[in-house]
Amino acid sequence: MKSSEKKLIEDYFAQSISEEDISSLNELLLNSEEARSFYLTYASVMENLDESRQAHNLYNFGPSKATRFPRKKAGKWMAIAASIIFAVVSLNHFAFQKTLKTDHGIEVNSKNLPKIKLIDFFGLDASHHSFTPGQTQFEVGEYKTSSGKLHLRFGESVDVIFTGASIFEILSEKEIFVQKGNIRTIVHDARGYEFTIRTPSANYIDWGTEFCLNIRPNATDQFEVDEGLVEVKDSKKVNSFGKFTPDYKPSMENAPFTLFDLSSDLPGEAGYARWNDQITAKTKNPDLLGFYTFGTPNKNDVNLSSKNFFHNLPKSTPAGFETDNPKSVCLNRAKSGIASDAILRNCSRSYGRWLGNDSKSLKFDNRFSAAYFELPGKHEEFTFQAWLQMHQSKSSTNMLLKPLLWDGSGKMCIQTNRTGKLYQSFWGELNLRENRISNHKIGNDWQLLTYTFGKENGRVVSKLFLDKNLITTGFPEYAKDIQMDGFLWGASRNGQTGRIRSNFDGRIDEISLWAKAFSEQEIKQEYHQGYPFYQSFAPELVQK
């Protein structure tokens, strides 16, 4: 087999194959038995290597060695087989019993093997970088974190969030033993009632909905009910200290805990911290041309009437974008300062993709809503990236990103058709648009839109990605670089009348412009860094 043929298969499995190469690969595999054999062997290599990685991740959580279950020594195939058996048990209710006793006298058998998954995390040690929110499962056993944030979901309806150093043991889907830790517990509905946190001195039983605990070795537990009802019993679960609500506390005589105003982490904070953590380094990156977030401008940052403030406002503001209102200016946070600050027109600030007041997005809810930027220079490599939601299509073509003037080579635009399907267009490249309408739509959830322009194997390539997936690839014939000059987000200028009309109905949260073409791997990294996992895995509530 030729090495170029092997390269096609290599690119296919690396998911970096172009549409043209896919045709060549189809033809190759159709006609060559040798190529098919190589393909099948390559698949086996990928899978065998991947398996070794997954097994490693599963068995190396935290430095704690003292698990009470044979989790680390069982071997990967037994673990996989056991998980299959568990799935089958759930479906068939057959009586395959494996009973184990924990140090706390809890019996666990295969009928109540826990269903506990990771929702989000931040700042755990380096070995947890490969954790995947929503997928990584936790088993019965002891865990230890030295810092960071860890958000777990027990069953379908109980969220437990650990902040900082913690030592805990998962006993079942409804019970954990905590030696140390700052915890918020949220029971979303009746399925999670009686979720219990055991500590060395007491049992905290949640009857819905939310409470916080601070457990410290050799110190009294600190306890706070935020909402709903929590019953506290002694460590042997014999005597009850009563049921606590935010407004009612029973007698605290001999209680092994104190009521305390705790501010444990809220859901979504791990994701926000993960995102925020990389901002400073990002803004210093010399390849970053422009970086925009949409929190309310601080008066200390934006004061258009003062000469003491340096602002990088657009050089030639189009009609309708002149402003003396600081709220209409969004600063370019990139240290390079190459792109201008943005001028906002008829946009409002709305909730962002992270929970909490600090996270804001820009809402385009008016027929004149638009944001204007300037990006001087020619860029042989370029990436545009934005987190966005789209609520509806306003017209047959909806401009997401469009130069103010559509008047020369190097001008590109990103738009959707009436059904929300994305496509890219290039000035003077007539074939590009027709051939490159993707089947992918922008929807109501937060999605990452990435456009890249650069060269691959000496050929100019223009790609559009949604989340972490490549959705269209174009090969401009004439354009050698990107020259956006002045450009609009969410609107377009009528070439005849000069009027600027909005045709984007949605929100954006963070825009970045780069002087390099992101690789698929970098896009995946950005996606995982910035995706609001908690919102995606918001529990489905049931009514009783």
Binding site: I17, I22, S37, A43, M78, F94, N469
Partner: protein, 177 residues
């Protein structure tokens, strides 16, 4: 009654554990996105468990039988998937799956050949493979440490996988002579 069930469990587990890696690799060849492999394997395992009683001579047939189930599930997945997730056309995929089934017996031993081929890699290549698949260090950190770009390391990893594939093919061909 209970001991019959336990016997079934034990037998199923033994056969499943033996054949799962080869069937999983076969499934990997049938899907573009590796994230779909685990989901599809779970379906295959559940179907195999439910129909296990109907299988005659599992000692002889378990692996190939599970592969038939996997093949059906792959084709069913392809019918429902969006085009971007199934870049290879149906005709090509049928040929790949046919050949995969035909070569099943030889592929079962592939993991031994893989271990042997990994030993033949240069020390630097083995180190990179270890970082990518077995270590807590990320490729990004490793790139920083070794003064290389992340992209170049990913490209090198691709080349290593291709080299391993060629080596395995050669080794298996030699063994079958």
């Amino acid at each position: 009654m209970k001991s019959d069930r336990n016997l079934k469990n034990t037998k199923f587990l033994a056969y499943y554990t033996e054949h799962e890696p080869a069937v999983r690799a076969y499934v990997r060849g049938g899907l573009y996105n590796h994230h779909d492999v685990a989901d599809l394997m779970q379906k295959v395992a559940i179907i195999a468990w439910n129909k296990f009683d109907q299988l005659k001579d599992p000692e002889e047939n378990f692996g190939k039988w599970m592969m038939v189930i996997a093949r059906y599930e792959i084709m069913s997945f392809r019918r429902k998937a969006e085009k971007i997730d199934v870049p290879l056309c149906d005709k090509v995929m049928q040929k790949i799956l046919d050949q995969g089934a035909k070569e099943y017996d030889t592929r079962k031993e592939l993991c031994y050949a893989l271990q042997a081929c990994i030993q033949k890699l240069k020390a630097g290549e083995r180190e990179l493979l270890d970082v990518a698949y077995n270590s807590s260090t990320s490729i990004k950190d490793f790139a920083k440490k070794t003064n290389k770009t992340t992209q170049s390391l990913y490209q090198k990893l691709n080349r290593i996988r291709t080299a391993l594939t060629s080596c395995i093919q050669l080794q298996m061909k030699t063994e079958s002579l």
